[in-house]
């Protein structure tokens, strides 16, 4: 029993930390209805900014804050490519993501920065007397809860309603006097700020930043969002947000399980893709099963 609880801790921490990224993906993919691939670049951007600042001796909280700003700038770039130059959502994200690969290398100065004995937000929290394990869990859970709360508040403001309507029915909200270029850029900036924050936490949690750590971020984010919807539903904004982080935990749990069962780490991306297909197809599958049962 104790071993099982111990087994849960790591996926839980990862689920919470990557859950912040999934919240960002939820914002672009579900709320704005914008398939934004920038995230594959903004997650490592957050990690890169944080790691290089910490190594340079800056305060880790300041490093985290700057990572968030960096993510917001990346999202703004994608938004401007789309709204000002009329580049498609997909391509605008790919362009920023590609550019970020070079930018992240520049920020880091090399392809990998270890943070082994560096001062991180987790160490600082542990020094407050929370203990090493407790500190990671409490900090991750506290941040995720705070973000869910803030995002919920935002999505219920005048501005938040306008952002949601932009993703739902652009023509309608335009006819109500909202500049949808602005709401799109704002939504993408927020989304990528969340993703970069997640990247910053990841780097400090795993004690290194790597230029390649962003590969597959979008698919992991989608997996979390979709699994969350299937498992926990999305009947209200509140519930949908909690479901995203819940989905993220479940996704990390599945990964931990299949690794424990002996799957090669290199096969993980394949497994993730299959998981997303399964989650996406689940409504149809359910319907077919029901039809099959009643039809025969």
């Amino acid at each position: 029993m104790l071993a099982f609880v111990g087994f849960l801790v790591s996926p839980l921490e990862q689920g919470l930390i990557y859950g912040m990224m999934a919240l960002g993906v939820y914002l672009s993919f579900r709320v704005l209805n914008y398939a934004d691939l920038t995230v594959d670049g903004s997650l490592p951007l957050g990690a890169a900014i944080t790691a290089s600042m910490i190594v340079a001796g800056h305060d880790p909280w300041l490093a985290t804050l700057l990572a968030v700003l960096g993510g917001a700038v990346a999202g703004t770039a994608t938004g401007l490519l789309h709204t000002q130059l009329r580049i498609t959502p997909l391509l605008s994200g790919i362009l920023t993501m590609t550019a970020l690969y070079s930018i992240n290398l520049r920020v880091m100065g090399r392809s990998n920065i270890p943070l082994l004995r560096a001062d991180t937000i987790f160490n600082q929290a542990a020094a407050l007397g929370l203990g090493e394990r407790g500190a990671s869990l409490i900090l991750a859970a506290g941040t995720a809860a705070l973000l869910i709360f803030l995002l919920y508040l935002f999505l219920e403001t005048e501005l938040g309603l306008a952002v949601r309507a932009t993703g739902d029915n652009e023509q309608m909200i335009k006819s109500l006097g909202v500049n949808t270029d602005t709401t799109k850029v704002l939504g993408l900036a927020l989304s990528n700020a969340l993703v970069a924050l997640s990247g910053s936490y990841v780097a400090q949690y795993q004690h290194f930043a790597d230029v390649g750590m962003g590969i597959g971020t979008i698919i992991a984010g989608l997996a979390s969002v979709i699994i969350g919807e299937v498992l926990f539903g999305s009947s209200s904004v509140w519930r949908a947000l909690v479901a995203v982080v819940g989905g993220s935990f479940f996704y990390r749990l599945v990964i931990a399980l299949v690794l424990w069962m002996g799957l090669q780490p290199t096969d993980l991306k394949l497994m993730t893709a299959l998981l997303v297909v399964l989650a996406l197809a689940s409504p149809q599958l359910k319907q077919r099963l029901r039809l099959g049962a009643s039809g025969s």
Binding site: T157, E158, L161, A165, Q171, M172, S175, N179
Partner: protein, 264 residues
């Protein structure tokens, strides 16, 4: 008061598909007029409403609303002055959002959106009151997603949204056409009631000649980007559906859609 001076709109100019949708339109609509607009398919009715709303720029001419030249204003800026209802009931509301959220967005039409609470308690009470006037029972469903409503209910809601914050101009483009005849008549009744109650200056496009003569105080007929008939008040009261059909026939623009909509 709305004024159009020599407004011209050409689609795909310079190609073989060039189409003059509006040819030098001159039009004055004093405040309080309720104008119905008829015309065959492709006559330019929707284009007229769209250039007024700023959906696309004009190729020539100017548009004034209350003596302001709004010709260069973007669509979302003009929205401050105009309420709109589209033909497709799906276009006027955000389906994944609740009835009260949709109304709250409409109440702030043309205003800057801030980080303030999206809906206040006082507004909720107002929504309930205004929804009750529709007589559809929607006042008890403030938290239902709009997706759950029927086409007629959605169109009634859109109409309420367009008039919730009094617009200088109400633009209705065949907003009853996608509904079954009975629901369509109900939505038209509601339209007439709201327009009279708030004394709204209104432009309503319709294919239904009965509706065109029943609603409002003035009727325009369009053909090939031009206004070919403009009757109001006493003169319009003398006009019959028969007269309008005769006029269509004379122009040789008797379209299938018109025939269907106005079959005896």
């Amino acid at each position: 008061m709305l004024r159009l001076k020599n407004v011209r709109k050409v689609f795909q100019a310079g190609t073989v598909n060039e189409k003059v949708a509006l040819a030098a339109i001159n039009l004055e609509i004093p405040a309080g007029d309720f104008v119905t607009i008829i015309g065959s398919n492709g006559a330019g009715k929707s284009t007229l409403l769209n250039v007024i709303a700023g959906v696309y720029p004009v190729d020539a001419g100017r548009i004034y609303l209350d003596d302001q030249d709004v010709t260069g204003w973007a669509e979302h800026v003009r929205a401050r002055l105009m309420g709109r209802v589209f033909q497709d009931p799906l276009l006027g509301t955000a389906a994944s959002m609740t009835i009260e959220e949709n109304l709250a967005m409409a109440l702030r039409r043309g205003e800057k959106r801030r980080l303030r609470k999206g809906i206040t308690a006082a507004e909720r009470a107002l929504f309930r009151e205004r929804l009750a006037e529709l007589g559809l029972g929607l006042e008890n469903r403030l938290n239902d997603r709009v997706r759950l409503l029927s086409g007629g209910q959605r169109q009634a809601l859109t109409l309420l949204m367009a008039t919730l914050k009094k617009p200088q101009l109400l633009l209705l483009d065949e907003h009853t056409a996608a509904l079954d005849p009975k629901t369509g008549e109900k939505v038209l009744d509601l339209t007439i009631r709201l327009v009279e109650e708030h004394r709204l200056t209104t432009l309503m496009v319709t294919h239904n000649l009965h509706q065109a003569l029943r609603a409002g105080n003035r009727t325009l007929m369009m053909d090939e980007g031009q206004i070919i008939l403009d009757v109001r008040d006493a003169e319009r009261q003398r006009t019959t559906v028969h007269d309008l059909l005769a006029l269509f026939e004379k122009r040789g623009v008797y379209s299938d859609k018109l025939l269907l909509a106005n079959a005896p």
